[in-house]
Symmetry: D2
Subunit: 284 residues, 4 copies
């Protein structure tokens, strides 16, 4: 199924009667074969969210024509909408420091074909992971953090040069400046090693150890100017007990960090995540 | 949201272009407000499954008229379809033996209003639970199992007299005769105390102990003539270890049995379960 | 196994070589049959924690004599220690408001023999649950909350009159005054309906909904003067998604609240919980 | 803590009074600092199991002397016992086919220092993974399966030449001949991609799909002559639903296969697994 080319339409608009009828009729009248369809009506904001995955070959026109035609429906319902095409892979730039468990996991998913993206480069403030990244045939850029402002400008420049769509902070351990949070809003994904909102900020496993919690967690979220406070995409927890040291927590934590980031990133690249204020709608 | 009267339409039909458009347009043209919508295309059977929950007050006709009108759409797409009305509560008859953890759990959910059904009676092959059931104001019928054939005919007669829609085997520990499995196909729900297909039949916790598994489970399924082989509605597992005796497993098992049965029964009474051959589509 | 009378010895002392040897030799020389043995060395505090469950019939003396004899060993290692006897059931007083899912769950575990305690009475600030509690043959005391100080003094008096060992706040929804927190330190157990330290205080499901978390949780902890900040005994989480309203969270939450409280209380009554500063050692 | 050299003593013997006292007194009289201690009395077999981790530097003799001295205690209680020394890393040979998610995971844990073993070589019936393995500086042996008997003799010869302690079948997809199962009993670990005993044998995800289960699993076990029937070390499950194809299950399954194998192998290399008939005692 994954091998067929698909268009994915995501949209949100004020909730009212007839939205699904209008969108599904639009596709039906052109013979569009809908592979997956998801809906959500948010009662707080009064907005309606929708995601449709359509077989590209079932439609008699290309994506440019489809955009033109669908714009008529979209205007009628005041829709915010995007159309992605599985033939155009998303370009994901990965930022790492020295810890490589998330990087190792993402690169394996990428080379096995599970994670269908392009990875134009990996950027790091250390040289440690160069050889591993380059073995994959992926360019590795070393950007030391001596002058933070300059370093982040360099990172942004690299991201832009490589036509990056999404920036993943795979345990990067550095805080993105507010200006870049705004410039790339909704395009920067972080993995935080706690079950947010518990233990935001530095050394969450130490905080968890001090508090004596019986589960630890990890959170994948969009980066915003407020540290560890952006819209949450995915979370998970794992059981610990009194016998586990901070080092044990770090070890257990790595396993959930990498699966939570991998799931969250997959939802993002498959256009399954729609942001609604500071929350997310995730159509799994 | 739960307090508003709703119609729930469930259907299946051969998969083709235009089903969602036809159904959603039908509702849209009458001003129907769709509260929840779910779809599934089964690639093995080529059938399409659908569930729609509509606010009753948003439609200009009653359920009888709606049936007449919708029949036109249904015929066009060769749909098997049902319409339920939240104003007509499902009537659930519970069969128990001596173990009462599932009964206690279901009755609490019923009296707190979480499980929106009528319970016209409880039937048991023992007298032990009479006082507890009658405290709830629910009739209790004692049917001893000396003559099994006669006992099951009595049970069926009670179920029919009480206009039962669904029969729940809440750890009943007796095997329903094939004739009743056929007569009430798709209407009898069992909770089996193992993760099926592992450990079907008698004493599953003993079997699990002997095999040395590291998790035990529970399975809620429709009863068919093949013992413990009907379509699975819901399952869950819980971790055990070498230190747990059969008695410990029984204790842990009770907690998953009751939650798995409660979830499975809720899906059933909310028309969230559609049977597809020997499997289920569960629209949560 | 549960039917045999057992002594349970719990202790903590400064960590050093020879503690286990001394304690196990003490039992071995008297023929004591150890059913369960657990140890923990806390690296932060340098203290050693231990729990031993011994078959009473395997020892040639009664618990009073055992206390006298063991005191010699205890003095040598500067132990804080307790000895409990399974023949002396712990007396658990339950405080409830109107929500009864935890109460219903605990009373079922009690009447089925799973929870081996005495429940001398249930106290509530409402009359709603009187009939259900009294059906169990348990006295029910109504203490209205108009004058909070007087009400809590009345609750304390009832607890003392009934020789309560442990006070369980089973969704009591009222904050215990600091004076009672101190008077009954280590003897009052609360269930909080969030994964602490996230969402302490009022309306945690509303807080969780606002933040957009992807899992919700429950926490069983000892009550201290700091609200929702006492030593955590047990926690668990359950997955939710964007489609779940606050009401859905409340419904899912009830299921984890009752299992987390039931597990935490069982650990407590079986002397499996040892407090270490603001954390717990739980020997499962 | 992990950096200090430790001895790990594991043993089993007929259960009786005084075992713990004898062993702990043996260590105490020599000043031995016990880091971790675990016990289990198996009621079915009447055997007692024990694991002790001792700081090597706390003892006044080396491991050879310790063996001589401890043999006296062991003889007295008819113990089967082993002593391992953290300074002697276990030598783990990995067998793979084409699927590399488990290999990728294990090699990452090894190169990050989390999995404290030596990996003298990787053996495969395909050339696909040579470059990845050799990047790690680990020898890669290609053994084609045309003549199965000869191939397995070659594998056994390589394992022996490399002084292998443990052989890991990391999704090797070939059945070990009975003769090798016997020759390396208790030393060969397999990961099976189902929750055993459900779906033993070939294509377990297809079997799971056909049966319509709501969870899928993975099982790490010792290999015996009976296919997929050896003592289970570790298992886990993950939730799926009607919308998941076999390909989706394969994808979800990879994540639990690798964590279950990694946990099971860690327990094995840290001498935490003791076999008791066809079951395991796992001291976590």
């Amino acid at each position: 199924m994954k091998s067929s080319r698909r268009y994915t339409l995501t949209l949100s608009c004020p909730d009212r009667v007839g939205i699904v009828a209008a969108v599904s009729s639009f596709f039906a009248q052109h013979g569009g074969w809908i592979v997956e369809a998801s809906y959500h009506a948010d009662t707080q904001t009064g907005r309606f969210f929708m995601r449709q995955e359509i077989l590209a070959d079932s439609l008699p026109f290309d994506s440019a024509q489809m955009r033109t035609k669908f714009a008529v429906v979209a205007r009628q319902f005041e829709m915010d909408w995007q159309l992605s095409d599985s033939a155009q892979k998303m370009r994901v730039v990965i930022l790492v420091s020295k810890q490589d468990h998330c990087l190792n996991d993402l690169l394996h998913r990428w080379r096995s074909g599970e994670l269908e993206v392009d990875i134009p480069c990996v950027i790091s403030n250390h040289e440690d992971l160069r050889s591993f990244v380059e073995w994959h045939g992926i360019p590795y850029h070393y950007v030391p953090m001596g002058d933070k402002a300059a370093a982040f400008e360099k990172i942004a420049a690299l991201f832009d040069e490589h036509n990056g769509d999404t920036l993943v902070l795979a345990r990067f351990m550095q805080i993105l400046p507010p200006e870049l949070c705004r410039r790339y809003a909704g395009r920067v994904i972080n993995i935080h090693h706690s079950f947010l909102p518990s233990f935001a900020g530095a050394k969450p496993y130490h905080q968890a150890y001090e508090r004596g919690v019986k589960l630890i967690g990890a959170t994948c979220h969009y980066v915003t100017e407020q540290l560890d406070d952006g819209p949450i995409i995915e979370q998970d927890t794992v059981r610990i007990d009194h016998g586990d040291s901070v080092e044990d927590m770090v070890r257990y934590g790595r396993d959930i960090e990498k699966t939570v980031l991998a799931r969250g990133l997959r939802y993002h690249v498959e256009s399954r995540v729609l942001v609604c204020d500071n929350k997310t709608v995730v159509f799994k």
